[in-house]
Symmetry: C2
Subunit: 306 residues, 2 copies
């Protein structure tokens, strides 16, 4: 059940109505790895500059993340993003983006990663995502892809090509509408699944997530939280929990994907409690199972009473 994760490893500087972070470690690949390693080891594919802290790499290694596929470009700088969240925490402005090493990232899949059964493509240029798929000699049992509106605006052809190669696509609600050209999420889902993926997950932030497959639909709520401190990485953490659960159980059925979405939602609910990956690093199995119980309580009802 080897899990390969592709995604950025980055520096972020975050402003929210509640505070401001220093330049901290972030990136989709980082969040996915910190989260998924609660369930299974990870083989990471990414790129960082010489400025990326060695102790961060060591911490990931200690966590069970193979870094053989992470390129370290000593003379270059790590990808940097800075953003400011609005009061509702659902919308944000990008203040600064420095692509740096990500500008010409050419992923190389190490030989030791060729046993990949589960492939998680974190948000990245779709051409980089598809390059990893084509480098794998044997098609993984499940390929999951996250993406964002940015690529719809500058690389739609690449994006559609990569989407056609994957099993599960994750987008948020406005991205599903943009990609399909349909306002109704139910119709948008049908349109997007015709592009290739047999499963579609539509993330709605604080409003939960929907899983579509054939004519079936499953809804997972987000846990109502007193405070969302920093939403950065919540979607990546969700992806990490989802693929981590799937890889650990080895079960790619619709039924198990429902459970995987609940696991992803539970992990994301931890992520937003502190800046960056801080909260994710501090949780253990009993925290996770406690929060999963909260999800059961949150949605459980007795229809026999009707």
């Amino acid at each position: 059940m080897s899990l390969v994760v592709v995604g950025s490893m980055a520096f972020d500087a975050i402003e929210t109505p509640f505070g401001k972070s220093d330049k901290i470690v972030g990136g989709a690949g980082t969040y996915i790895a910190w989260c998924a390693t609660n369930f299974t080891p990870v083989k990471q594919i990414s790129v960082v500059g010489g400025d990326f802290p060695q102790d961060e790499l060591d911490a990931l290694t200690a966590r069970g993340v193979s870094l053989e596929g992470v390129q370290i470009k000593k003379d270059e700088k790590t990808f940097f993003w800075s953003g400011r969240y609005h009061m509702d925490m659902n919308t944000r402005d990008t203040l600064e983006t420095q692509l740096n090493v990500l500008g010409d990232f050419n992923p190389v899949v190490p030989e030791s990663y060729q046993d990949c059964e589960y492939l998680m493509l974190g948000n990245l240029a779709p051409a980089v995502q598809s390059s990893v798929i084509t480098q794998l000699k044997k098609r993984p049992k499940l390929i999951v892809m996250d993406t964002m509106n940015f690529w719809m605006e500058i690389a739609m052809d690449d994006l559609k090509k990569t989407i056609s190669m994957v099993d599960v696509l994750m987008v948020n609600d406005s991205e599903a509408r943009q990609l399909s050209g349909d306002f109704s999420l139910v119709r948008a889902a049908a349109t997007i699944m015709k592009m290739g993926p047999k499963f579609l997950i539509i993330k709605k932030g604080e409003h939960g997530a929907l899983l579509f497959h054939d004519n079936k639909v499953f809804f997972a709520p987000a846990l109502p939280l007193e405070d969302v401190f920093d939403p950065t990485g919540a979607g990546d953490t969700f992806a990490g929990g989802f693929i981590g659960h799937i890889a650990r159980t080895g079960d790619i059925s619709f039924e198990n994907m429902k459970t995987a979405i609940i696991v992803g939602s539970a992990m994301a609910s931890y992520c937003v409690e502190k800046f960056g990956t801080e909260r994710l690093r501090s949780i253990d199995k009993s925290d996770i199972s406690g929060r999963l119980d909260e999800f059961v309580q949150l949605v459980n009802f007795d229809i026999n009473l009707v």
Copy 2:
């Protein structure tokens, strides 16, 4: 298990991105009555003008609605509202409001309604709502109140007084924020429950509904629909399904309220399929149980897989 419903009976003229209705019968009390009578008879309190169609009143009587508490002011006109929905169907502009008979509505509770066990206060001036409560010689087993932001703006003192007298309050998410002064719905719920109601339902439209009680929370999704044709009355229909289920079962526990919220959500999902009350009038018990099954499928997951 006598159920008394207080609410407007009105004319509406509705514009959506998909069409435009004639002047049709609407009003919170009308929607609640059409919905709740699927579960239990209703004793209605309202006021209409001489222009309100007799066949509409006859249809409600045939449905099991007692109209003894409905005042008919022959020489006056029925309340009229006209509005236009935006593309997202969550926001709307009021084009015209004619209060007419509602302007000086003074509800009178008939003697035959004094056996009221369940009282549903549909959205109306809070002073009208509290007047019904105080006219009841014996306090009902459960008082449920719906309201809206309009009353927060023009009658906050009355509103807080009425809220302090009820068991269950229903508001939408922005109203919960406005009433509590807190953006976090979890903290808003705690604040509002200190105002009196032991239970709070926060409606989030297409994003479902939350039920709060003590430190417990339950979430019910809205059914993902291909098309929302006309959202008018969806909240009232939700209220009608909720109180209808409670009155039918005679069980006011938190557990049963969860089921009641699912029933309300299922009924609301029918309401929005056509203009006005049209769809609600055409459904039967097998439609309802079919849609309840869809809700079970929608949220059911196996946590034992974790």
